[in-house]
């Protein structure tokens, strides 16, 4: 065996081998820890929550604390969450999409557009509890439609403020992906800018816009802090959007600190339902873009 051969087959020095193994081990450990946290959360929620998942939780109201043996559930909280997220989407999606159209079709690189983008990224970073404080000041304390007080509208307003930047930024990305040729082609056929924007650009970006909107919906469905002192909570069915309104997230928060086992059980079960809603929306958004 020549010296040259020996050098070619010489194994790595021990130190370098150990370094590789060591780093592999640390990387594996880190990843395992991250997964462990996730799996533990999911596992516990399903382990604790699923046994309580009966039909009656969807159709009943929360029973008074300490009363066992009566049907107890959170049908009203599901109603409230869906209602407030729907109103929030109704407020922020049109507004957000129009702002995004401005950014991608009109403003582009202008100073105004840059500022709008900057403001939107700041808005997306505002802590959600601060948004709740803001909504309390401008909606709860104001008299709207002859009503002053906690309401679904106030909660939805807070959620809309949180949704807006997500909708704007994701819609702009989606619009930017529409090839310029389509706009030119539309204009060449005599369309005005409104027709081009709505019939061509928006239409072809619709799937990715929907993805962004769905992600924003998934994000705000689980928000609690902005609802604490805007929508408050309620033990009864929703009869009016100008009234204190229950939500799944606030219910989980209220009952998580409860000493009553049946309320804690309800909090776990509500978590299964809320998590299911959020993950389903997330999944849906992924499916839509995958199709493209």
């Amino acid at each position: 065996m020549t010296l040259f051969d020996r050098q070619l087959t010489k194994p790595l020095p021990l130190g370098r081998t150990l370094f590789s193994y060591g780093m592999n081990a640390i990387a594996a450990l880190s990843t395992a820890l991250a997964l462990l946290a996730l799996l533990s959360i999911l596992f516990e929620i399903f382990r604790q929550g699923l046994p309580g998942l009966k039909w009656e939780v969807f159709t009943s109201l929360p029973a008074p604390a300490g009363e066992t043996g009566v049907p107890s559930g959170f049908g009203n909280a599901i109603q409230g969450t869906v209602l407030m997220v729907a109103i929030a989407a109704l407020l922020s999606v049109p507004f957000g999409i129009l702002t995004a159209i401005y950014l991608s079709e009109v403003g582009k690189t202008s100073a105004t557009a840059t500022i709008v983008r900057f403001v939107m990224s700041i808005l997306s970073a505002v802590p959600s509890i601060v948004v709740g404080v803001f909504a309390y000041a401008v909606i709860v304390l104001a008299t709207l439609f002859n009503y002053k007080g906690f309401s679904a509208l106030a909660g939805a307003f807070a959620l809309a403020v949180i949704m807006l930047p997500i909708v704007v930024l994701s819609t702009e990305e989606a619009l930017k992906l529409v090839p310029q040729q389509q706009r030119f082609a539309s204009a060449a056929l005599g369309a005005n800018s409104i027709q081009t924007t709505f019939k061509v650009v928006l239409a072809s970006a619709l799937p990715s816009i929907t993805t962004g909107v769905l992600l924003a919906i998934a994000r705000v469905s689980g928000e609690t802090a902005p609802l604490l002192f805007t929508a408050l909570f309620s033990q009864s069915w929703i009869e009016n959007i100008l009234n204190p309104t229950p939500s799944l997230s606030v219910m989980i928060y209220n009952y998580s600190g409860s000493p009553f086992p049946e309320q804690i059980q309800l909090a776990w079960t509500a978590s299964v339902v809320l998590l299911g809603m959020v993950l389903l929306t997330n999944l849906l958004s992924r499916l839509i873009t995958r199709k493209r």
């Binding site: 604390a65 109603q79 002053k148 239409a203 009864s236 009869e239 959007i241 204190p244 600190g257 309320q263």
Partner: protein, 345 residues
Amino acid sequence: MTLSASVVRRAITASAVTAAITLSPILTAIAQAIPVNGAGATFPALLYEKYIAEFKKKNPDITVNYQAIGSGGGIRQLIAGVVDFGGSDAAMTDEEMNKVSRGVILVPTAGGAVTPVYNLPGVANLKLSRQVLPEIFAGRITKWNDPKIAQDNPGVNLPDSPIKSVVRADGSGTTFIFTNHLSSISPYFKGRVGVGTAPRWTTNPLKGRGNPGVAALVQKTPGSVGYVEYSYAKKNNLAIAAVQNKKNEYLTPSIENTNKALSVINFPANFRVFEGDPSDGYPITGLTWMMVYKKYDDPQKADAVKKWVQYVLTEGQEVNASLDFTRIPADTANRALQQVQSEVK
């Protein structure tokens, strides 16, 4: 591309339909029942939830909603005018009542006891004397095996571990009743902490939200001591410490003990009392109030509020005992009811 766009459009339509179905009860039920919204003390929350359920059976056209956010919150939201009635177990002060331009009537609804609860595995029937209790919550006694505690509890094996106090994170009438008592019996406590719905604690306590939050924290934390409204302690099987009254008897709360304490109290014209150390009965006793406006914009709402108060002060009082609350003495209840009937508009 076009295919997926149409798929999306269909999906949007489908979800809109789903949402409409989910929300249809709202759309059909709008303005059918008169809402009466309240918020405030957690102390009587268990009782009010029961009232509401019973009241709804008799008055399906009125929906009462009460959210337990703490007495401080009840007073604040009443002054802000964002609720129809508030709940508090610290009677509103004159200054606070002056801030309500619509006028306010205090309606006493129930009496209850605040009890110290603790979590010491293996230790039952703990007794805390008039000297010990304030000093624990003022931070002068810091270990469970302190000779002052041991003295009252002969034969009890007290651990050599620190005492962790648990108090309220929110402004609380329960805290008011508790600190009002401790300040009445201990100048040291009065100087260090004082009376209030949210006093400045000197023991670095853990803080829980509402009576349930304190009960849950004590339940989970060995070595802790807190204070809750009696029914929260009883329903959750928390260990209750006996306390000493003015006659130096060691008592735990019961309806008779609480009633005895309340019977020595005189209700003034505005129904406010601040008795910190009654001469007889269970010493840490307080009343809880519902605050209603004198003026409502909507006459229907004023009627609904009157019906609600009437229920609470008559039939509702029968429920009190089942949740270990005392009744409001009949003549006081009558007086309050008359004032509400004649002055609320």
